[in-house]
């Protein structure tokens, strides 16, 4: 397997007044094609910050994010948006669906970002069918016309996952996707994620507080004190599925 996403020497410092808060101090990390990578760390460690930088929503102070060896973090804003749309999906803890749109529309929205009005008219059918199919796979085949307010947390998260999938990304960045759900629903969502990973070959970067989830992942990294350390207790280079090794703490070999 090859690198899909690679972060090299990412630093990020926030300023509160004239006090500097260094959140990331040189993070190296890579996401391989087709793997599920777990990222753990205490609250406030900077996991979300890192995820936003990897997803090109935020810019690092230093360092570079490469996507298939292209230094995408240095592209123009418009091209970054393009990469974000084409290659990267987001799933958030709080679902973040558009409340005015129903499930189907929320999913379709994910496919609209780059088309013109005319282009959309041409592909509308196809996109809608695909959205229906995705929602069907998420087990929401009969809730297409429900708005987020009419859906439970688990159902909303399924819609969010379908939305992340509609543009056929190669990696999905999920920030505590089960953080707001009870254990049973969490289990269902996680099963779904593993199934998608298996069936579609989409990589996942999974931020989680759940040790069980972390151990289930192919690899697990810990973010602490602004750098990555191998936090699984498992030796570096070994993973649940026997994928090639994680980068050891603060890994310099990337």
């Amino acid at each position: 397997m090859t690198d899909l996403l690679r972060a090299e020497g990412i630093t990020k410092t926030y300023r509160a007044g004239n006090r500097k808060i260094p959140v990331l101090r040189g993070v190296d990390l890579r996401v391989l094609e087709g793997e599920i990578l777990a990222l753990v760390g205490s609250s406030g460690a900077g996991k979300s910050t890192l995820l936003h930088i990897l997803g090109l929503l935020d810019r690092p102070d230093e360092g570079v994010v490469r996507y298939r060896d292209v230094p995408v973090s240095r592209l123009s804003a418009a091209r970054k948006a393009r990469v974000r749309h084409r290659e990267i999906g987001f799933v958030f803890q709080f679902y973040h669906l558009i409340p005015e749109l129903d499930a189907l529309q929320n999913v379709c929205l994910g496919a609209m970002m780059l088309t013109s009005v005319a282009g959309w008219l041409g592909m509308r059918r196809r996109v809608k069918d695909r959205a229906r199919e995705l929602l069907g796979r998420m087990g929401l085949g009969d809730r297409l016309r429900n708005r987020p307010a009419q859906l439970s947390g688990g159902e909303r998260q399924r819609v969010a996952i379908a939305r992340a999938l509609i543009a056929d990304p190669s990696v999905i960045l999920a920030d505590e996707p089960t953080g707001n759900l009870d254990s049973r629903t969490s289990e269902e969502i996680l099963d779904l994620i593993w199934r998608i990973n298996e069936e579609d070959g989409v990589s996942f970067l999974l931020v989680t507080h759940d040790a069980q989830v972390a151990s289930r992942a192919d690899r697990c990294l810990r973010l602490a004190d602004g750098v990555i350390e191998d936090g699984t207790g498992r030796p570096a280079g070994e993973s649940a599925r026997g994928a090639p090794g994680a980068i050891p703490g603060g890994g310099k070999e990337a």
Partner: protein, 457 residues
Amino acid sequence: MYTWYLGFKYLLKRPINLLGLFGVLFSVWALVTVMSVFQGFIVEVRAQVRGAASDLALVGNRMDRSYAEVEALLRDDPEVEAMAPRISWFGLLYVRGGRRRPQYAGETTKGIRGTDFYRVLGIDPGSEGRVSAFPSWLDRVPAGRLRSADPKAPFDVPRNRLPPKLRSEFGWSPPGLLMGLDRARYERVYRTGRPIVLASGRQVRDGRDMRVIPIKRDFVLSGTFDSGHYEFDNNTVLVDIEEMRSLFGQDLEDEGSLDVFNEIAIKVRDPRKAAATAARLNTRLRKAGISGTVKTWEQRRARFLQAVRHEHGMMKIVLFVIVLVASVLIYATLSMMVSEKTKDIGILAALGATRRGIASIFLACGTATAAAGAVLGALAGWLSCVHIDDINAWLRENTGRELFPRNIFGLDSIPYVLDPWWFAQVLLFALGSAFLFSLLPALRASRHDPVEALRHE
């Protein structure tokens, strides 16, 4: 695509946006209707003024020259088609007899009723018809006791129409006087032959002093006229110019009397060249040392036309400001929406929206609101112009009030001008201002940090 899609979804799902829509709708409606009707009035009033006025007029002559002499001088000009002399003066009219309408205490003596101050215009019935539509002014008379005056001899009253006291033995009858139709109605002088006394005065030079000589002359009503220009009709009475001349001491019967005038109405061949013709005639007059100036009808009514135009301009500004206010409504609702939608902004950024795309959503929202409002408003304006008379009639019947004082202008229906260019201007303005006012919240939206928006629930 998502910009339009979301823009419209937001619009449809958020009734608060109707506020801006209705704001624009009503302001555009008002703008279109009021200005169309106003324009109609202007066109109508201009036509009225124009109809009662000759192309050019020599005004301000000191009544010291013979008309024949001046006419000969001006007739040479190739543009001059016809001329008619006039004497324009002012005076009070008293009506003898008739129903009395007391206006204030001590106003009347027995059987005599004072009326208002009038412009007394002496005309030459023979030549007047060549410079204005004078003969046709005499056509419209109300059924009843008023006789329509004979265009050939408008100031003659048949003997049998005169009150018995005035039927003299020698075939002499008092000179006739034509009053505006509406005014005659208002003054309740309903009968041909009604005696009317004109009282006025004139100044004469007496050595080094100026002396005022009182003028009093008996007339009888010989008919009414209706030029269509309500102001002219209401303030003017027409008499024979020879009567005026005799009032000014130039009696036709006297030896050496002069056919004086103080105005000459001039008809030109090409009204478009009126201004140039006027200038040419003026130089000619100055060379001959004749007092007075030739003016076009627009110059003569400049103040009036300017006042109307001024009012029109002010009204326009006021109404455009109302459209601006409607845009501010859009601005307010959009600003609110941007604040509420910060999370959506983060989501869209995560889905791959650019800043420009995010700004466009709100721009689309604001402009679509304005566009819908403006189009509906223009439509409403158009409809209410077309049906303005029905609306007016309905208002009169149900509320007793009228939208527009139709009667003052003597109009059968409320005039309006539907000018497509004007509609386009209003639509563009409404859209443009809404666009500009939407730009601010839209830019604010695009500057939101998506990360900040996504961090919290």
